[in-house]
């Protein structure tokens, strides 16, 4: 019975011209989202490749030069190096924070205290304002709309047209009938969304991202399931197709448009991000004060580190500048820490409240899986900070002691290599999101099943 009923439901859907138009529009939107995502990913990939290539070329030149003669460490430290965040594992899936958070940072010994946002990719300001029309946008915003357009009148339409009484009098369990009908009517939309997700992973993903892709597929299906369950639940209570459409439309506006905006506003109010000008001003103030006390700071440094004091020599400008920079870093650190803490608290609040709307949970999961979310960029910032420390540790003694760099030092030069998070970390986060979405869909489905009990048929049949 199931397959025959399923076939007939598909045939009924196929006779609706509007359904074909909707499916074509959705397929077009998915394709355009992937195309847009791939353009942005290609731009970021090109920027990263150019920077890495430039850095590699420079290191090659350094090695060659060191083979011929020793080099003053100040010269190499002045040139600095670039810490680059490698392309995201599934960049076509979501742009996320990739166009807001820097994908690389120039690490120069003399400017270690400076803020890291030094962007090289040109950004269209309107993109930054409106966000990108990427696959995540289509899946979070348009996917539920298209699904709802096809399943909004699962039962309300039959009640209105009078076919419901005839159907229910056949002795089918209303819940099982609705579930099959919902599945048949949403099959094409779910299939297109799953295909687009697969395509984004297969054509744009890095090696070894199979697990991420599988989880992304599960997240997309769970999100779809939530909206289908909501449509079934609404159809179990409303009496007309118009009421069902209005209720589901209102739910979409509330969950996809209003809830994320409200959550953002709430989080920003509870944990306001310190302004960047505040950070810059703190840096300038600290720098001015430290420069005035340059000599005093250096003397203090040598008292603490007598092993680095140049024997019988006058401290030079570079040594004093390093000490000043170190003091500036120390002074600015609380402001920077406050900035990071507030961001972390904001993200923690978003994580805690993401189930207020499955759209938030879905977006968080997709950007996380794509490698374009908060967590990967935070890991990058933390690893860059560690790298800055290792650069300072490497050069500081040599500059104070005025030791030249030799070929033997080349292999010890600090080099940045980003370490991806272990799968357990992102699996834990996205797994929670996925379980939450399944739980929400399950709760709605269970509620609808209770409302659609055969004993409640009077209310259903009208």
């Amino acid at each position: 019975m199931t397959s025959q009923l399923f076939k007939l439901e598909l045939r009924l859907l196929a006779r609706e011209r509007a359904a074909w138009v909707l499916l074509a529009l959705f397929a077009g939107a998915l394709g355009y989202g992937i195309l847009n995502g791939s353009r942005a990913a290609a731009r970021r990939h090109e920027a990263a490749t150019t920077l890495i290539q430039g850095s590699d070329d420079f290191l090659g030149q350094v090695k060659q030069a060191l083979g011929q003669q020793a080099i003053d460490p100040k010269a190499l430290a002045s040139r600095g190096t670039v810490a680059v965040l490698p392309p995201a594992p599934l960049p076509l899936l979501a742009t996320g924070q990739s166009d807001l958070s820097p994908g690389h940072e120039s690490v120069v010994l003399w400017r270690l205290s400076a803020s890291g946002d030094t962007r090289s990719e040109l950004q269209n300001p309107s993109h930054l304002l409106t966000g990108r029309f990427d696959l995540a946008f289509v899946l979070v915003w348009l996917f539920p709309l298209v699904l709802l357009a096809l399943v909004y009148d699962l039962m309300a339409g039959d009640r209105e047209s009078g076919t419901l009484r005839l159907a229910l009098s056949q002795g089918i369990r209303p819940w099982s009938w609705m579930a099959r009908r919902a599945f048949a009517r949403s099959l094409h939309v779910l299939g297109l969304a799953a295909l687009a997700t697969l395509a984004a992973g297969l054509f744009g993903g890095s090696d070894g991202t199979g697990l991420r892709l599988m989880v992304a597929l599960a997240v997309v299906l769970a999100y779809g399931l939530f909206w289908i369950a909501l449509a079934v639940a609404v159809n179990a209570v409303v009496r007309s197709a118009a009421s069902a459409a209005t209720s589901l439309g209102a739910a979409w506006v509330l969950l996809v448009l209003v809830a994320p905006t409200l959550l953002n506003a709430t989080v920003e109010t509870l944990h306001p991000t310190p302004s960047r000008p505040e950070l810059v001003a703190a840096g300038r103030k600290a720098s001015g004060e430290a420069e005035k006390r340059g000599e005093e700071l250096l003397n203090s440094f040598y008292r603490d580190h007598p092993e680095l004091a140049p024997p019988g020599q006058q401290a030079d400008f570079a040594a004093q500048h390093l000490t000043v920079q170190s003091e500036v870093s120390r002074a600015v650190e609380p402001v920077r820490q406050k900035f990071d803490e507030q961001l972390a608290q904001q993200q923690a609040a978003v994580n805690r409240w993401r189930f207020v709307s499955p759209a938030i949970a879905m977006h968080e999961a997709l950007t996380d899986l794509a490698g374009a979310g908060y967590w990967r960029h935070r890991a990058f910032r933390e690893q860059v900070n560690d790298f800055k420390k290792s650069v300072a540790d490497f050069y500081t003694p040599k500059i104070h002691l005025r030791q030249a760099l030799t070929l033997a030092d080349f292999e010890r030069l600090p080099k940045f290599a980003f370490r991806e998070e272990p799968p357990a970390a992102w699996l834990n986060r996205t797994g929670t999101g996925l379980a939450g979405m399944f739980a929400l869909a399950g709760a709605l489905g269970a509620w609808a099943a209770v409302r659609l009990r055969p004993a409640k048929l009077g209310a259903l049949a009208g």
Partner: protein, 233 residues
């Protein structure tokens, strides 16, 4: 067999069906007459399990409607005043869909045969039902009763709005079904059809059975007068 035992349904304090006890045997056609609001449709809804009774019990072929509504409904065919079908489906597709809902699978040839038995012209079977007349839709309803091999048939004003020829054709189909052992309950205002088709006639007033006559016993009686007498009593 269709059976109600002291069946009662109240809407607020008003009893729409009041201690109604009926037993319609296989092959019997029971015409339920009564003015608007007498409780005819409520009785049908109670037998279908669309309403929960406040007292008494409804049974279909021994299955309690309240205790096992699915089992009871699987033995019932229901033809409302307006048989509403999916307009984008053809007659044969509608029959396939609804009989599949009822748990019966038929080949296309079997479905076409059922529609033919119900009197639907062969050329109409593959036409979308959006183009069907009321009579044609009712024939699909009868075909559905045949397809599901229902033991009982509930009809709610089945001949209302049908032209005399269609009405006559419908009557013949009913008799054929009754001849196959189906217990039929027909709620109607059509006294002529009631006398022609029914083996028993019941008059329902304020949810109570005011009269229950075997058609053979009232052959010489003017049914309209009898009906009005009950109404004025």
């Amino acid at each position: 067999m269709l059976e109600t035992v002291k069946l009662t349904k109240k809407f607020n304090s008003h009893a729409a069906v009041n201690q109604l006890s009926l037993a319609i045997q296989p092959g019997e056609v029971f015409a339920l007459l009564g003015p608007n609001g007498a409780g005819k449709t409520t009785t049908i809804n109670l037998l279908l399990g669309f309403l929960t009774p406040d007292g008494g019990e409804a049974r279909v072929n021994g299955a309690s409607v309240a205790a096992d509504p699915i089992a009871a409904r699987r033995q019932i065919a229901y033809i409302p005043e307006q048989v509403m079908l999916y307009p984008r489906f053809t007659g044969v597709e509608n029959l396939d869909y609804f009989s599949t809902l009822g748990g019966r699978r038929h080949t296309r040839d079997e479905l076409l045969q059922l529609l033919k038995k119900a009197g639907l012209p062969a050329e109409a079977a593959d036409r979308r039902v959006g183009t069907y007349s009321k009579g044609m839709r009712q024939k699909v309803g009868i075909a559905l009763a045949l397809a599901t091999e229902a033991k009982a048939l509930l009809l709610d004003e089945p001949t209302s709005g049908l032209d005399p020829a269609a009405s006559h054709e419908f009557s013949q189909l009913l008799r054929k079904l009754a001849g196959q052992g189906v217990a039929i309950l027909m709620a109607t205002h059509d006294l002529f059809r009631a006398r022609e088709d029914a083996t028993r006639i019941g008059i329902l007033l304020d949810g109570k059975l005011a009269g229950d006559y075997a058609t053979n016993d009232i052959k010489g009686v003017d049914l309209e007068k009898l009906y009005l007498k009950h109404l004025r009593a």
